[in-house]
Symmetry: C2
Amino acid sequence: MKKPKLEDIAIKIGVSKTLVSLVLNGHGDKNGIKKETQEKVIALCKKLNYKPNQMARNLRLGKTNTIGLIVADISNTFYAKMARGIEDYCNKFGYNLIICSSDEKDAKEASIIKMLKEKQVDGLIISSTLVDNTEILALKNENYPFVLVDRYFPEIPDTNFVVIDNYLGAYNAVSHLTEIGHQHIAMLSILPFHITSVRDRNKGYTDALLNAGIKIDHYLLCQIPFENIEIGVELEIKKILSYKHKVTAILAVNQNIAIATVKALAKLNVKIPDEISLISFDDLPFFEIMNPSITAVDQPLDTICNNAVEILMNEINHKGNGIEKVQLVLPTKLIIRNSCKTL
Amino acid sequence: MKKPKLEDIAIKIGVSKTLVSLVLNGHGDKNGIKKETQEKVIALCKKLNYKPNQMARNLRLGKTNTIGLIVADISNTFYAKMARGIEDYCNKFGYNLIICSSDEKDAKEASIIKMLKEKQVDGLIISSTLVDNTEILALKNENYPFVLVDRYFPEIPDTNFVVIDNYLGAYNAVSHLTEIGHQHIAMLSILPFHITSVRDRNKGYTDALLNAGIKIDHYLLCQIPFENIEIGVELEIKKILSYKHKVTAILAVNQNIAIATVKALAKLNVKIPDEISLISFDDLPFFEIMNPSITAVDQPLDTICNNAVEILMNEINHKGNGIEKVQLVLPTKLIIRNSCKTL
DNA sequence: TAAAATTGCTAAACCGATTTAGTTAATGTG
DNA sequence: CACATTAACTAAATCGGTTTAGCAATTTTA
């Protein structure tokens, strides 16, 4: 017994496939199909377990009910949680998620965008790593529905984005450190630094220092290449520990750097917080249970996800037609734990 | 300028769309299309940036080049890493991944399977939570390509699966504990316990105890409901700590339980490993950097992923036609760190 | 030089739904 | 009783590719 199609149902009942289609899509009454006929159709479909062929539907309707999510790496907890939030919220609207990891590689991300477009996903949610914004501009020019999350392009006006206030997040974290007496604070940042989130966090770091009347020492803003975090962090930490002024606190630019920092400090047998204080930008369940627990900047992930999906759905439903672009900058929260020592 | 379609190309060059399609699919030579004509077609397609409409292709070819992955929760590190491995390996074959989280809920998983089938994904990779195997049986009967990972159904013969040797993993972990002198070992396990991985780990635990000549105390095999791990673990730990025989070691059935255990022990101010030893089934990067670092059973995730995809691709290419089912049970590795004390 | 083979290409069917523009028969209206 | 309206339904176009079956013109073979 093959999978039944519309025609099979139609023939069995002795009506046209138009009628069957109308009934199944709830347009029966509107088109004056007799109640009795409608019931017959529905009963037979149930009996034969008829399911419309989505490929055919997609083709006809020009819609896949699928959206694409592009992140640096889905195995990273931050993006995994984001993916889950987006998945759940998309499902509510009857959409599914195709998830792709760009590995922070320009070329890979560009090719993923192309691929997803070819695959005719109805929209994209992108945490972009691109320096070269050609692909994003292309999306914009084609009116392809998309929302940027986590990172945006200041130089491209009128695009939807949902990001956090990275600047203020870092600013507040560093201010917390200066308030409890720290003067020599290093920032373990990351390359590529063109990514807005990184750039803004770096700026928040320096501005908070300036505001506290501390001279900026560029030697203390360390940039660790994405591909080689573990080794990079260890190297930088060794460097700053042997620096002329004793560094007493570190702000890690994201969870991966924070993890690598904890690891490196343990290896070098430097105690947190007694010998050095640490704040992580990004919170993790682990940070709460570690010994010591780690002070962290928490991102409102659910809010990010829900808003991103909401905006995208709106775009899709209006086919990007002249609806206003939404640009959200959400606040972060500093969760103070036991990794920072008052001097 | 609209998106060009096959016909547009054909008309511009003055040939049929058949010809264009043949050339683009590399069947030009085979069908005796002049080199010159072929070049013209390819040049124009490049110039107009022609991309075939995948929905149309899908419909005609009956293929979506998409596979579905069902896990309990994509935000869980274990599944996130698994998803990444599968994503990468699928890409190699030109496939994309739709990822869905079942939350260990029977009904949700069943409806996801149905939905993905309707969506006409070419195959499924499932870490199933189902007690009721109806849906899996249905897949099997329809010859729908699928591979079970992480968990399988012993009662359904002739299905592909890739799992780890949960029994031996737990057996070895507990044996390690008995070898270093532990006698009173608790297992923090989980509900639903019908899941093969859980059941096998539980069995490994009891058998290792028996083998070491230790009497089984069912009181020490604790089953914590999936929905409420944190509170459940804390409760159970309080219980076993106040037990008549002093429990000196714990085996946590998975990473979530292990994390909750560390948290609860910290809260109760019970020191690892001095007061209690701990082994986690599932390793995590954190376990290496924590203080103390946590001894863990490591799963060969890459091997699981690659094999699962490989098997699925094979199924898809043979349309499930009488090819032999593959059943892989992979070995685990006990990584000994500092969370277990020799008595 | 007629038949066979080859070269180069195409018309039309097909995948399976949705939707537009009708049709037919029954009923209502003036 | 002629005409308009309504109720109930449908034929055919459409989405945009792939594929089957085959045509016409040229070249080769016997």
